[in-house]
């Protein structure tokens, strides 16, 4: 069955690829005849194009960026991790000048292909290559054609913290966190700093759970925090964190989602969702593609911040009326404060 679907998707994507391949030969109506139309090829992870998260938002951003810059556009979803390199090569042979890949699982495949095709540009979302053994920056040596789009999670977390600290009546807010890895830690630190910035006496609780897919434990942790008097739960742990949001909903407390606007992606808890601390993957991808089109895409790590519109808070949706004007104003001024001094989040 999977094979069949794979076949169907391949067949369906063929015209797309063909289209992408044709585009360079299409005569560009006027302007400089030398500049042939460039093309963007997106290679998705196994989550697929409707994953309500990284893959979906990458496509959305890439399409918008390519359309705005008048570039060709094609994408392919990977059926398994063994397909990454093959899919990247296919996109390149079909004429892509810029390859966009998604997530840390594709890190190795992207690096390998970037070395093999030094003339093609690569953008990878949410994965940074560590310096080599002697502290050599890989982006200056073998990965000169790669740009990593990273996100300042601490800034989004800080805004969530400001909101939580302001909305909390109990003076106690909590984070239900996933694995203790840098992006999660940055969210948590930023959140706690933000909460303390509006209410210095606020109590912040946090619990890391060494698993991103254990909502049952996440819910228990959330319930435990609520029984201790926390009235806002910030969920920073994928599905584990979603358990925390569920605990908040069932107890009549409020939750804050993470990464994408969870009002849209986790509608079961939308009634009790204040907002979500988001990485605007689509915006960051669009920006990167426009830089590419303008010939300004630089190798290295490109950090999406509040200033660049790459991270922030999702709309309040139904919570619009529950959040006081005062708290909204505090979030707005915190945005300005972070733009002025990114160090206030407490993360380097």
């Amino acid at each position: 069955m999977t094979k069949k679907i794979h076949l169907i998707s391949t067949v369906l994507s063929l015209p797309l690829l063909a289209l992408a391949a044709c585009t360079p030969s299409t005569p560009s109506a006027s302007t400089s005849p030398a500049a042939e139309k460039q093309s963007v090829g997106v290679v998705l992870d196994t989550g697929g194009e409707n994953d309500k998260s990284f893959n979906e938002y990458t496509i959305k951003g890439a399409k918008a960026g390519a359309d705005a810059a008048g570039l060709g556009f094609a994408y392919v979803a990977s059926a398994g991790s063994s397909d990454y390199e093959k899919n990247i090569e296919t996109q390149i042979s079909e004429g892509a000048d810029l390859i966009v890949t998604v997530g840390f699982l594709m890190g190795d495949a992207t690096a390998a292909m970037a070395k093999k095709y030094p003339d093609t540009k690569f953008v990878i979302i949410d994965y940074a290559y560590a310096p080599g053994a002697e502290g050599v920056d890989p982006y200056t040596t073998e990965l000169k054609n790669v740009t990593s789009l990273m996100f300042a999670e601490d800034q989004a977390g800080y805004l969530a913290g400001v909101l939580a600290g302001c909305v909390s009546e109990a003076g106690k807010v909590a984070t239900v966190s996933g694995m203790e890895i840098p992006p999660v830690q940055r969210y948590v630190q930023g959140f706690q700093a933000g909460a303390k910035s509006v209410n210095p006496s606020i109590v912040t609780l946090n619990q890391y759970i060494p698993d991103f897919n254990d909502p049952a434990t996440g819910k228990s942790v959330g319930q435990s925090f609520i029984s201790q008097g926390a009235d806002i739960i910030f969920a920073v742990g994928g599905n584990t964190g979603n358990g925390g949001l569920l605990a908040a909903k069932e107890a009549g407390k409020m939750g804050i989602g993470v990464d994408v606007d969870q009002y849209l992606t986790y509608p079961e808890v939308k009634d009790s969702l204040l907002t979500s601390a988001t990485k605007n993957i689509d915006v960051a991808t669009t920006n990167a593609i426009q830089e590419f089109a303008a010939g300004q895409l630089k190798p290295g790590i490109e950090l999406a911040t509040i200033a660049s519109g790459g991270v922030g808070l999702a709309p309040y949706h139904d919570a619009e009326s529950k959040v006081s004007q005062e708290c909204k104003a505090k979030v707005t001024s915190a945005q300005a404060a972070i733009k002025a001094d990114p160090k206030i989040t407490g993360v380097k």
């Binding site: 409707n50 609780l205 819910k219 228990s220 942790v221 435990s224 599905n239 979603n242 358990g243 569920l246």
Partner: protein, 323 residues
């Protein structure tokens, strides 16, 4: 006091899927079939229960059935149990009929469950999925609920917790005080002797393994329909394997497995409450969170090495019976 009751209650709740998984293991191993596929059976039970409840909720509502929520949840429970039993059946066919290596069969079922649940989840339970009915409400037992302390600890739970408590007694009674239980144990200890007195070895093994699978399925139902209310990939998160450990420390007895499951529950409850303990005193805050996370596993090792003595599995466990 309230704090302690809350803590013990949390331990009992988190012990529920582990104890059920351990009972699943006990039933099949007592009959001589090693079952390491509890994790996969749990995961499948969780998915099928959620899928069923999800897709029946709206039609039941439309049909004007009163309490459509509870009705769809109950049908979900039945479906989850059947799914577990089905995998139990698969495991028994490979182990008994085809005399395959039971560890391999169990591994294959785990992998199958991971793959299948992932695919079904992506295909039918993401973007276009209908609204789920949520989770079972708590059902306080009238009368008993009013007992101080114990009432809140034991008699104010969701249904699967009660079922687990009941099953502890039922399985203990069936295994040790009924002829059927004697058959199961004799088939697991010395199938040839059992065969010579006219016990149908294969039949006993089939039934035990399938019933065990059903109970593992129920453990999975706890995850979706009693705890979380939605399915996520690999959400059983290793509970099926912890259950195996609980079965071994419990010496393949339901009461022992219940006790060790509670111990794991306590460890998990400690882990869950770690942050609050840390905020309560500066001394406790010195303990790194990783240590709390390791508690269930440390307990495992301590129990095994310190208080365990020799763990002897049923003699014929894992061996296909050749007439």
């Amino acid at each position: 006091m309230e704090e302690i009751t809350g803590f013990l209650k949390l331990a009992l709740i988190t012990a529920t899927p582990i104890a059920l998984g351990a009972y699943a293991g006990i039933l099949s191993e007592r009959a001589g079939v090693v079952n390491i596929a509890i994790e996969g059976m749990m995961l499948t039970g969780a998915l099928v229960a959620q899928l069923t409840a999800m897709y029946l909720y709206a039609p039941l509502q439309a049909a004007g059935i009163p309490a459509a929520e509870i009705a769809s949840l109950c049908l979900g429970v039945i479906a989850g149990i059947l799914a577990g039993a089905l995998l139990g059946g698969l495991h028994s066919i490979t182990s008994i009929r085809f005399k395959a290596d039971q560890i391999i069969s169990g591994t294959v079922i785990n992998l199958l469950a991971w793959g299948m649940t992932g695919w079904i989840y992506q295909r039918w339970m993401t973007a276009t999925a209908p609204t789920a009915p949520g989770t079972f409400p708590r059902i306080p037992i009238p009368g008993l609920r009013q007992i101080p302390v114990l009432g809140d600890l034991l008699f104010n739970h969701q249904p699967i917790v009660y079922t687990m408590l009941l099953l502890t007694g039922v399985i203990h009674y069936v295994l040790f005080y009924t002829p059927w239980g004697l058959h199961v144990r004799s088939v697991g200890e010395h199938p040839r002797a059992a065969d010579t007195v006219g016990i149908n070895v294969e039949r006993v093994r089939y039934i035990s393994t399938i019933v065990g699978g059903a109970i593992a399925g129920l453990a999975g139902v706890w995850l979706t329909l009693e705890q979380v209310g939605s399915f996520t990939l690999r959400m059983s998160a290793g509970r099926g394997f912890i259950a195996l450990a609980a079965m071994i420390f419990g010496r393949w007895t339901p009461l022992g497995a219940f006790g060790t499951s509670l111990l794991f529950g306590l460890g998990t409850a400690l882990q869950i409450r770690a942050a609050s303990l840390a905020s309560a005193s500066a001394g406790l805050a010195m303990i790194p969170t990783q240590l709390y996370q390791a508690i269930p596993y440390l307990l495992t090792i301590i129990v095994l090495a310190g208080f365990g003595g020799k763990a002897t599995p049923p003699a014929a466990s894992g061996q296909p019976y050749e007439k």
